[in-house]
Symmetry: C2
């Protein structure tokens, strides 16, 4: 059931088999599998998964290629709730490892916030990442186009940019490297640095060798209408026309609650085994938090793997659900 | 486009970037990703993927839990074709590694068969497995219930069997071990050996310790109506009532075309790296053929991984699609 500020109490008095932090594609898929393994599951979701911002999911098997990301999330939540899972709209403040269980302290509500603690034997970190966007004075102007034809994921949307005039918005020389794989799809590329970094000589000569443009002036605003970006206005008044854009400014990881566990990482991503288990035996990580491909279908598969391994762990330690329930009764 | 006995010819004269053998969940997902990477793809499908037989797909994120497996396949094929992929209904007879390319010899049509050869740089083996079913004189009686409430996958359908009286149909002591994880969901289990194997003492005592029944008499037929199996009639005339069933008789691997490559295996399954590459650098394996969880969402994710790695390989060797196309022209 959906837990609220009014109905949270019984849930704080039990021990869930698993708490999933994050109600995006990975977390919901994990929740569906866990409930189908008859494991008590709570998903704590602060809303707005990365896929929530996708106007169309073009590459997910089984869904028409114009399906909005939020439809998948809506269907997934309904599916999870129909299986008896608990869902809480809250922000995770802290996770404490108590040995057999984790205590997870959450904040419910932005205003008149309540703080409560929920417990589980296993934890699945599925809280994902969110892309950094160009910081303009008027952020609404950015949100107008981001997720429409101002993309954040080359693997997802390279196809959408094929043979088009593409603006790439980067904030470091490293993040600017995306122009080269983008060059597979189109040769008409302008790199906008906005003066945020110096283009090293080596990068500059590789860009020039491909005929890519470099624009160092800052952006005043994106221009366009109906969520279709058609160019940028620079702070010096010039306008650069574009067909589409790709933002490559890195991502914020939503997992500070894991910092103290000092889990094994590679770059910013958690290292997991084939079943999505981190270096902590009772913490799993799925979707964009872990090393791998940041794709909705991969996150959904990760959820199936983590849930299955947790089921195997719990089953092997308790033998049967009946035994567990008898012990509880 | 759909290739037919009439329209196969131009396709035999080109070199595909990738040929995918198998048009199930994994193969279609791979095909969608490959076409979106602007890679020429041919899927060779002999029809009837394992998911084709699933009356309802209960655990696939984004789809209502009563979605038939064949709906996912239909949508996937339409999606793949809409991206310009080629699809051929044929049976793969032989794969020859020519060094830079594979030559794939297929048989088109069961009657008046034609034999043609298609070529590709990369091969994705996505031809999956099919479950062995009890061999009754009247196989139509088995097909009447298999995939409905006569299940073949504990992970998929354990939930459907919770607290029910379940018949397990096994053909070896090893395959009979499934009763123990099934015991997580229900304690009312009868193992039907049909006299196909002797139950070893150790297994017998573990079965008895759990209160599971053993029935050695062969099955005359499943009984029930409207695809709902309600029990079995034994060859000695007795009837055993059941709520549902689980077949555990192993699986046939549809990949004899790979035998001569002597790829690394674990059990009957192909060993792959994190991007689904086998021990042959240009052969990938996805879905049920490889080591891992036999789940539709996992196969779909495998397809995304294999396609992405093939794109990276080809991109790094040729730099840009434009260069490739100029070289072709």
């Amino acid at each position: 059931m959906k837990l609220t500020k009014q109905t949270w109490q019984p849930a704080t008095e039990k021990i869930y088999d698993t708490i999933v932090i994050g109600g995006g594609a990975g977390g919901l898929s994990a929740g569906i599998y866990l409930q189908r393994y008859l494991l008590d599951t709570l998903i704590i979701d602060k809303g707005k998964a990365r896929s929530f911002w996708m106007s169309e999911l073009h590459n997910y098997l089984g869904l028409p290629p114009d399906t909005p990301g939020r439809s998948v999330l809506r269907q997934g939540k309904e599916h999870f709730l129909s299986l008896g899972g608990d869902l809480l709209d809250a922000y995770v403040e802290e996770v404490i490892d108590e040995g057999e269980t984790f205590a997870i302290r959450v904040k419910i509500g932005r205003n008149n916030s309540q703080y409560h603690t929920f417990r589980a034997k296993y934890l699945i970190a599925a809280s994902g990442i969110i892309d950094y966007l160009p910081e303009l004075e008027n952020m609404r102007n950015v949100y107008e186009y981001a997720g429409y034809n101002l993309h954040v994921c080359l693997i997802c949307d390279g196809y959408e940019m094929a043979d088009k005039k593409v603006g790439v918005f980067a904030n470091s020389a490293g993040n600017a490297e995306v122009v080269f794989p983008l060059g597979w799809f189109t040769s008409n590329i302008t790199l906008f640095t906005q003066g945020l970094f110096e283009v090293p000589d080596d990068l500059r000569s590789r860009l020039e060798a491909q005929g890519y443009q470099i624009e160092a002036t800052s952006i005043e605003q994106f221009i366009g209408e109906d969520h279709q970006m058609t160019g940028v206005e620079l702070t010096d008044g010039r306008i650069v026309k574009l067909d589409t854009g790709l933002i490559s400014m890195g991502s914020k990881y939503h997992a500070t609650y894991l910092d103290k566990f000092e889990l094994e990482k590679q770059g910013g991503n958690l290292v997991t085994d084939k079943m999505a288990r981190t270096s902590h035996p009772r913490i799993f990580a799925i979707g964009d938090l872990k090393v791998g491909l940041n794709q909705v279908v991969v996150a959904a598969a990760d959820g199936a793997l983590a849930a299955t391994q947790i089921w195997r762990d719990i089953r092997r330690s308790t033998f049967s659900k009946t035994v567990v329930q008898q012990a509880r009764d």
